[in-house]
């Protein structure tokens, strides 16, 4: 195992460990979104689209600055996308076909990543974040968090399942009682197909993504025109051409002494394979080694930026694009329940990089990637699907693991007031309302005591009503409702409390809310529902005759 592989393995394991640790309750002081914050595109794109300095993303800037000295080391040693591609390239690399892309084609394709970069930055100028389209950290976090992680848990659970009797027989009951709840996610097939496509590009060239497509790599390429640490070839070179054919980034010119530093990721593969030991990476100042820097053509850059801006502006005219304002005519999908603490919708979409870390971390699995419910600009952003799981009132993990602050990191008490929506009872489906069935599970499970039972004429049992001022939209009622298919009590994003700054408690109180969800706290019993006197109806709820 050479130096590169060792560092790569350490980086990838660290990345995966942090992803695993992004769970409730958070068990580490170390930021679990560390790798996401290193992404130079996340830094640049979010800086522009949010029009704010997001200090949490400063590590991305540090990577850019380090690139001035060390070259694109990030791509070879840190980026989990690049490392994953190195692994998948080894697996899927065609054995008998080494006729990869011709140098001419390759040279032309390299520009694509700049176009992608400037397109993304163009949308950011309009205030729309399309970082998620190309940010390698966003993509790879989505891949591991929403596809690989659930698969691993599922396999582990099935393994425990099939070995259950084995454990029991051995008396290892503690082991046997471990339960894994397999998280399940929407759009995982799409994420998988995307990665299948990216992996299969090895048929054209190794690290195809990094060479030609990656916009983060493009950012770094702009800053690695003349890095301090650079490839130097001594006079013992016999021009055998081995390094040229083995360079994963095709960064070596026809003259093997000359290097395209913007493409070089400092992996030092050439150093290791050179039979003459003619290559070193050392601080270099000589002008002669350096080919003319490649700057993307001004016209192309302008076209990409304008293309991005135009696309974003055009998409903003789509009828399904969601706005924060509540004026008539603004279509808000009834399914689009944002996680608690999400910024105002426009700002939320300007910040969210769709990494899926919140979805991975959420302990009850209601957070799901949106497909097209909020238009194309909302693709992969998180929404709450209460039927899948309720939002735990005393959990605030989604805000804690969000790298960009699209979901605010709130203290638990503040979070319980960050209202997501409002539940309402579908009386035509409700067992109590429609069928006189004793159920009232919603009343039982509501952590906010937002459901009240009242007697109404013509129904023999008390029926549930939602108290507007107490409902936080957590979805416990919708999740637990025993009515099949669509729940008979459903949460809609109506009256959600979205604040970019300030206290949810203060604002909630001002709006007349009373969202006390701390189960340990003494609460006054809700108003009694008794009718007076000894008529049969006068019995408390649940009793008969």
């Amino acid at each position: 195992m050479n130096f590169k592989r060792t560092v790569q393995a350490a980086s990838l394991l660290f990345f995966l460990a942090l992803l695993l640790l992004a769970a409730f309750p958070l068990k580490t002081w170390f930021p679990t979104d560390f790798f996401l914050r290193l992404d130079p595109l996340v830094f640049t794109g979010t800086l522009i689209s949010s029009r704010e300095w997001v200090s949490a993303l400063a590590p991305g800037l540090i990577i850019i600055l380090l690139t001035l000295v060390l070259g694109r080391f990030f791509c070879a040693y840190i980026c989990p996308m690049g490392i994953t591609l190195d692994i998948s390239d080894r697996v899927f690399r065609p054995r008998y076909n080494n006729s990869f892309l011709s140098p001419e084609k390759s040279h032309g394709l390299r520009r694509v990543k700049f176009w992608i970069l400037f397109f993304i930055l163009g949308t950011a100028i309009v205030g729309v974040s399309t970082v998620f389209l190309g940010s390698p950290l966003s993509l790879i976090t989505r891949f591991y968090g929403l596809v690989i992680y659930p698969l691993a848990v599922h396999i582990l659970d099935l393994g425990l399942d099939s070995l259950f009797f084995f454990y029991s027989a051995l008396g290892l009951e503690r082991l046997a009682y471990i339960e894994f709840q397999t998280p399940r996610f929407a759009t995982q097939v799409f994420v998988l197909l995307f990665f299948a496509a990216v992996f299969s590009l090895v048929l054209l060239s190794p690290r195809f993504w990094c060479r030609y497509l990656c916009p983060s790599g493009a950012v770094l390429a702009l800053f690695s025109v003349r890095p301090l640490l650079r490839r130097t070839v001594s006079s013992s070179c016999t021009e055998c051409g081995l390094c040229q054919s083995k360079c994963p980034m095709q960064a070596i010119e026809p003259d093997p002494a000359r290097t395209r530093h913007q493409e070089c990721i400092v992996c030092e593969e050439c150093v290791r394979i050179c039979p003459e030991k003619a290559i070193t990476f050392a601080p270099g100042f000589r002008q002669a080694d350096r080919p003319a820097p490649y700057w993307p053509q001004r016209r192309r850059v302008l076209a990409s930026v304008l293309g991005g801006m135009g696309t974003a502006l055009l998409l903003q005219t789509g009828v399904r694009e969601v706005r924060s304002d509540t004026a008539p005519g603004n279509l808000a999908s009834k399914f689009l329940i944002r996680p608690p603490g999400a910024l105002l919708e426009e700002d939320f979409l300007g910040r969210c990089i769709r990494c899926g870390q919140c979805m991975k971390a959420c302990p009850t699995n209601p957070l799901q990637p949106v497909w097209f419910e909020s238009g194309i600009l909302g693709l992969f952003s998180p929404k709450i699907l209460p039927r899948r799981g309720p939002c735990e009132p005393l959990c605030n993990i989604c805000g804690q693991v969000c790298p960009t602050g699209a979901i605010r990191s709130l203290p638990v008490l503040e979070k319980t007031w960050a209202r997501m929506g409002t539940a309402h009872v579908l009386r035509e489906k409700c067992l109590a309302w429609a069928w006189d069935r004793k159920c009232l599970v919603c009343f039982e499970v509501c952590p906010y005591a937002a459901l009240e039972l009242r007697r109404v004429p013509d129904i023999s049992i008390p029926v549930p009503f939602v108290l507007l001022d107490k409902c936080a939209g957590c979805g416990a009622c919708e999740f637990h409702c025993p009515v099949q298919a669509e729940s008979a009590v459903v949460v809609e994003p109506m009256n959600s409390l979205r604040l970019n700054k300030g206290s949810y408690i203060e604002e909630g109180r001002a709006q007349g809310m009373s969202l006390e969800a701390d189960p340990d706290r003494e609460r006054e019993p809700p108003e009694d529902i008794l009718t007076e006197e000894d008529s049969p109806e006068a019995l408390p709820p649940g009793f008969n005759y």
Binding site: L431, R437, E444, V445, C446, P482, P525, D528, P540, P541
Partner: protein
């Protein structure tokens, strides 16, 4: 089996036509033949005379731990329920992530006392089981039950919900709700102890030992949606018939149960019985519910259970003894 007395010993009117969890276990153990042969014998068990010394319901006042021990003692002590080597399942209420003062979960001292008594009586394994409504981890933690039972040998407090812990069984004594998934550990247990807290319930009036059995199955939802809930509870209890019921009425959630917050009455009582229905009926009778006195027959599942011969709600005819712990 030899030491256990049920209401059937006393009242031949009650049919024994249905197979309970216990018989299921025996049948699984391949001694169904033995059971069939001894079926008649149960009525005339030689120790019957001794059983007469024990009350139908033992009621003890005092702090939870002591009251639990005293009430079980009055019924003949734990060793009349648990034989050496038995596997015991205790079913408390621990479905809510609440602290004991909310009276939504069984008092941890009651569960601890029961577990300790079982171990003393020779139980090889004591499992405290529930399929919780709130997050399992938080329920085990906040209810205080896991903490209280830690350190008791052979005892585990578990909240199980994964499919692999459940097995589908027929409920032969059921009328409507005739099959369901029940925790394997319960099916394999020699002794089942119901240890509910006394609390009101918006849909079933009260939630006591019988309603509590819903915590041992996987899919409770259908009991609400597909069946009459009260009938379904009785159907379930024909199978999950507790050998011993200990109702924790140290605190009583007398209104706005099962979740509360509601009015919490200090009951300072623990009552025990071999008969789930009688225990539940007496608990209903003992306390006001929503400030009113309620008769056992006003709780539909208690009335139905009585009518179907699962136990007795006519507490005025039962031998009830009270003692101060």
């Amino acid at each position: 089996m030899s030491k256990k007395k049920t209401v059937f010993d006393k009242n031949p009117l009650f049919s024994r036509s249905f197979m309970s969890r216990r018989e299921f276990l025996k049948a699984q153990g391949g001694i169904a033949v033995f059971m069939a042969a001894s079926g008649v014998g149960i009525m005339n068990w030689p120790e019957k005379a001794r059983a007469e010394d024990y009350p139908d319901i033992a009621l003890s006042t005092g702090v939870p731990d002591q009251a639990t021990r005293t009430s079980v003692e009055l019924l003949g002590g734990m060793s009349s329920f648990v034989n050496s080597g038995d596997r015991v399942v205790i079913k408390p209420n621990m479905s809510f992530a609440h602290t004991p003062d909310r009276a939504t979960n069984t008092h941890p001292e009651v569960v601890r006392a029961l577990a300790q008594m079982c171990v003393q009586a020779g139980a090889s394994r004591v499992l405290v089981l529930d399929n919780t409504l709130h997050s399992a981890e938080r329920c085990l933690e906040l209810s205080g039950i896991r903490q209280a039972c830690s350190g008791i040998s052979g005892t585990e407090v578990l909240a199980l919900s994964s499919a692999r812990f459940f097995q589908e069984v027929e409920l032969p004594g059921a009328l409507n709700f005739r099959r369901t998934d029940i925790m394997r550990q319960v099916l394999q247990a020699d002794v089942l102890i119901a240890a509910p807290v006394a609390k009101s319930h918006s849909a079933t009036g009260v939630s006591l030992s019988m309603k509590g059995m819903m915590g041992l199955i996987r899919n409770r939802g259908v009991m609400h949606s597909r069946y009459n809930l009260n009938e379904a509870i009785v159907d379930l209890c024909t199978f999950l018939r507790a050998d011993l019921t200990v109702v924790d009425a140290s605190r009583v959630l007398s209104s706005h149960g099962p979740h509360g917050p509601g009015e919490v009455i200090r009951g300072d009582i623990v009552l025990a019985s071999r008969d789930m229905v009688a225990a539940d009926a007496k608990t209903v009778d003992l306390f006001p519910w929503y400030g009113r006195s309620i008769r056992p027959e006003q709780v539909a599942h208690i009335r139905i259970a009585h009518e179907r011969g699962l136990g007795r709600m006519d507490i005025e005819n039962l031998d009830i003894r009270t003692v101060e712990a």
